[in-house]
């Protein structure tokens, strides 16, 4: 059955058709969520939320000549990922409010690891910096650097202007540059 037929049937409430749409698109959504979260469990949660949201909004999806179901789903996946990160960040904040120790990030303290930073250390630091970016900035960064999308495509998926995407990317990159400057600049580019 063609995707178009599957969508039409799913819009009539045919769950079998929807399950086939899930089969067709599951890897794409999971891949996006995994690149965003780097965690299988979280990516599975996002995958589920995306398809539940898609099912509930199926009737809003317009079957037009150029509208692609997978693009629409991708957009929902992005929005679910951003929501997920917001929840996670809020949860983290609540944990702090409850005076909980976040042991997972405590590795960043102690000693002066920057002095003898290896390439692996630098990569870990970058991962942490990307992880700590605000949700929309992180999404723009992931889509650009890990999914190699064009700024125009990112703007379309994130439903914002290209200028806004550029701003998010610029801030993200500047943040990383600023944080690593001490490590790299002084070491290799003595001024």
């Amino acid at each position: 059955m063609e995707t178009l037929d599957l969508i039409q049937n799913a819009q009539q409430g045919d769950r079998e058709a929807f399950s086939m749409l899930f089969e067709e698109n599951k890897k794409m959504v999971f891949g996006l969520a995994f690149k965003y979260t780097k965690n299988k469990q979280d990516a599975e949660d996002i995958l589920q939320n995306t398809f539940i949201k898609a099912f509930n909004g199926l009737n809003k999806f317009q079957l037009k000549k150029h509208s692609s179901f997978s693009s629409w789903l991708y957009r929902i996946g992005i929005s679910c990922s951003i929501d997920f990160l917001r929840d996670k960040k809020r949860m983290k904040k609540s944990l702090q409010d409850w005076e909980l120790m976040d042991r997972t990030t405590s590795g960043s303290s102690g000693g002066d690891p920057e002095k003898n930073a290896s390439r692996e250390d630098l990569k870990k630091k970058i991962e942490r910096l990307v992880d700590d970016m605000p949700p929309r900035q992180k999404m723009a960064f992931v889509l650009k650097h890990f999914q190699q999308l064009k700024i125009r495509e990112i703007a379309e998926y994130m439903e914002c202007s290209e200028g806004s995407v550029k701003k998010q990317l610029f801030r993200g990159v500047e943040n990383i540059k600023g944080s690593l400057k001490k490590l790299l600049w002084e070491k290799d580019y003595e001024m």
Binding site: R15, F34, Q41, A43, E44, Q48, F55, S94, I151, K177
Partner: protein
């Protein structure tokens, strides 16, 4: 153009998304400005490091488990759902507000005045602490679940209005406990997932803070959530 402007364009240049004219201007500037040349080299180096952090190995998800959860949660067709959200009479607002006050008062009263229920002590470190907090969590949820499970259209009000912030706090607590339950007790995790869906339904479905009581009632009863919470609370 100032160096600052050129530096903004460097990022777009490295993405290959700078227009030809600006790219030429940047290249010419770099030939004359050693600071900007260094900055470009440094930015490129950062890009290379970011590239190296790319996770190429995307694991396989547990597709069957994912689909079965999705399938379970989309069991109420959209049309039926829309029907639930039809017109709520305005006269019900006052009665709904009373229900709201009673529910919130009941929930706050339970968590504030029941001995041992006035502290949230989630450490994630010990099994004992986790067990206690899970019970406290279920205790906090029970009045809310009972309210929805016993909801009836015959009541004076056909609308349940809640303090969204309070429900959001319950949702955060639920998400946290779900993570702690992952890998420890699949039943707890499943129950917390079901509860999460209900809480999300309440917090997200309607921006005005109202939710669909009939659908939530149906879900609580079909999944036997109240019983599961009771049974879990007794352990």
């Amino acid at each position: 153009m100032k160096c600052e402007e050129f530096r903004k364009n460097m990022i777009l240049y490295l993405y290959g998304e700078l227009d030809k004219k600006s790219a030429e201007e940047l290249k010419n500037h770099i030939k004359k400005c050693p600071d900007c040349a260094k900055e470009l080299e440094y930015t490129k180096r950062i890009f290379d490091l970011v590239e190296e952090t790319k996770t190429e190995d995307i694991p396989e998800a547990d597709w069957e488990k994912c689909w079965s959860r999705i399938d379970k949660k989309v069991s109420v067709p959209d049309k039926k759902r829309e029907k639930y959200f039809e017109f709520f009479p305005k006269w019900a607002a006052a009665a709904a507000a009373i229900v709201c006050v009673l529910v919130i008062g009941f929930v706050i009263g339970r968590t504030t005045f029941i001995p041992g229920g006035d502290k949230i002590t989630v450490t994630g470190g010990s099994e004992d602490t986790f067990q206690i907090s899970l019970q406290e969590h279920f205790d906090s949820l029970k009045p809310l679940l009972i309210e929805y499970a016993h909801y009836s259209e015959d009541k004076d009000s056909n609308k349940v209005v809640l303090d969204k912030r309070y429900v959001e706090e319950l949702l955060i607590q639920n998400i946290l406990l779900k993570r702690l339950a992952a890998g420890k007790n699949p039943d707890d995790r499943q129950l917390l997932e079901d509860i999460e869906l209900i809480l999300r339904e309440i917090t997200n479905m309607d921006k005005n803070g109202t939710s669909n009581p009939l659908m939530i009632k149906e879900y609580i009863n079909n999944q036997g959530i109240l019983n599961a919470v009771d049974v879990r609370g007794m352990i």
